[in-house]
């Protein structure tokens, strides 16, 4: 995923109606972009997996 710019972040907050102090978007951008980490399992992720399949995995992994 591409990095978010501070302008995009300001627009998002405006859309949500959440007030954001001046200059905050510039500080939020690197922190939010930092969460988008490389993960070797991403490429092997089966198409059929969704958030709910985790509960089935829990049972398999007991």
């Amino acid at each position: 995923m591409k990095n978010l710019t501070h302008e995009t972040i300001e627009n998002l907050f405006g859309t949500l109606g959440v007030p954001l102090a001046p200059g905050r978007a510039e500080r939020l951008a690197p922190a939010v972009n930092g969460l988008n980490v490389a993960d070797p399992l991403r490429e092997k992720l089966p198409f059929e997996v969704d958030a709910t399949t985790y509960v089935l995995a829990q049972e398999r992994c007991r």
Binding site: V18, V32, V37, L41, Y54
Partner: protein
């Protein structure tokens, strides 16, 4: 008994059963310690009796107190916040119903991080909770009062919640035992939500045996929390053998030398010899943060629109972090959870029942270093403290934090044992085996 409050929960239970002591004597002993310690550590929010103990049941007459986020109908739950100050709960949490049924007394509410969204125990609305071993240092959070109250022997056990480490961090920092349960093991009905894909509830107590007693009282399916499992709740503290894996090289290279020494010594006591490649702590932790921040921010959206000034600056900043996370990134993290859980179980735990690592790999910071005036190093210090807890929440597996030493400043050091889904019993058995061989859990903070 000169001071009944110093007994473990299991010992107190046995004395009550033998009629060597009465429930009222236990309660008075706790109250006397609360009066002495509360001005120093600010562990309690309210010390009014909320539920009298019963004469029968597995926890009959045992004084407990809980993080101020477990609702009791008609009583106030402030959730560590200004926004919910004085809020009266319309329902009782499933976990409190179960502890009531087990006969436990509920003797007050405990301090916590604002909305359970902070890893240190700072709270600008209700006052910081302070570490009983040295009040200049953090208690760990967000179940700060639970860790401090149990460590100072003000109660025999306490409930906490753990979304990114909030049971294990205060357990480790305060020198008590804390169990983060499997996601779906304990009902969250009537507990304040933070991040529904990660939130778990569990006990903090003096020993693994005490945690087992509370865990067995609260765990199990509840139709009011749709994710709760029907997996049987089994604890056999004498379960053997226990095969424990670890990554000694990683610990030696990444943990502070005093922490590494204590944790590797604990590994020897447990006979942990299976060396494995460490899980991808930092990747899993980033996924955990993605999920936690997206969900917590959504949960708080209305108040963030209408009352943003009523949050502390630290919590407001954390909540702001969640709004720009793309929905696809959030959902991809949840999809990756299945693959990572399967990988952890099939590789890290391929030939082991539990994985051992430090709970906190760095020396405990002070409240000043991690508070509002903490300066430019503060974010790094917080990241260091939480580095080894969030990955467990992302996987959704259970973890037991156990005291395993003290550093040169006299502050506790802890290890955590991480297991398969629903294997709390195995972890408690390992913790119990360790505590039969060591006495770290019996040491008391200086009076």
């Amino acid at each position: 008994m000169s001071n009944a409050a110093l007994l473990t929960l299991a010992e107190a239970r046995a004395r009550l059963g033998q009629r060597d002591i009465s429930a009222d004597e236990l309660l008075q002993a706790c109250r006397a310690r609360i009066a002495r310690w509360q001005p120093r550590i600010n562990a309690f929010i309210d010390t009014e009796l909320r539920h009298a103990g019963a004469a029968s049941g597995p926890l009959a007459g045992i004084p407990l107190a809980h993080k101020d986020m477990f609702y009791r109908a008609g009583r106030v739950s402030n959730c560590g916040s200004k926004i919910r100050k004085g809020w009266v709960a319309p329902q009782t949490a499933a976990v409190l119903e179960r502890l009531d049924a087990a006969g436990a007394a509920d003797i007050g509410t405990l301090n916590m991080s604002e909305f359970a969204y902070g890893p240190t125990g700072h709270n600008e609305h209700w006052g910081d909770c302070c570490n009983p071993w040295n009040p200049d240092y953090i208690t760990g959070g967000s179940s700060s009062g639970s860790g401090a109250a149990v460590a100072a022997r003000l109660v025999f056990g306490a409930l906490g919640s753990d979304t990114g480490g909030s049971i294990r961090l205060p357990a480790a920092a305060c020198g008590v035992t804390g169990l983060k349960t499997t996601w779906g093991r304990v009902s969250r009905h009537g507990a304040m939500p933070l991040s529904h894909s990660l939130d778990t509830i569990g006990p903090l107590a003096r020993t693994a045996e005490d945690c087992a007693l509370i865990f067995q009282a609260i765990a199990g399916h509840d139709a009011r929390d749709a994710i709760t499992s029907r997996a049987p709740v089994q604890v056999n503290l004498m379960q053997r053998p226990l095969r424990i894996a670890l990554s000694s090289d990683w610990i030696e290279q990444n943990a502070h030398p005093e922490v590494a020494r204590a944790v590797l010594a604990a590994a020897k006591v447990l006979g942990a010899t299976r060396e494995v490649k460490p899980p991808a702590f930092d990747t899993l932790s980033a996924h955990c943060l993605t999920v936690m921040q997206a969900e917590a921010s959504a949960q708080h959206l209305q108040w963030m629109r209408e009352r943003p000034q009523d949050y502390s600056s630290a919590v407001r900043v954390r909540l702001e972090m969640g709004y720009p996370i793309p929905a696809a990134q959030y959902l991809e993290a949840l999809r990756l959870r299945t693959s990572h859980l399967e990988q952890f179980v099939s590789t890290t735990l391929a030939e082991a029942d539990a994985y051992l690592c430090p709970t906190i790999a760095v020396p405990l910071p002070t409240r000043e270093q991690t508070g509002p005036g903490g300066g430019p190093d503060m974010p790094k210090r917080l990241a260091d403290v939480t580095r080894l807890t969030r990955w467990v929440n992302f996987l959704g597996v259970p973890s037991l934090s156990v005291p395993c030493g003290f550093d040169s400043r006299g502050l506790p050091i802890a290890m955590q044992l991480v297991g398969r889904p629903f294997a709390e019993g195995t972890l408690l058995a390992a913790g119990h085996a360790y505590q039969r061989e060591t006495d770290w859990h019996r040491r008391l903070p200086p009076e």
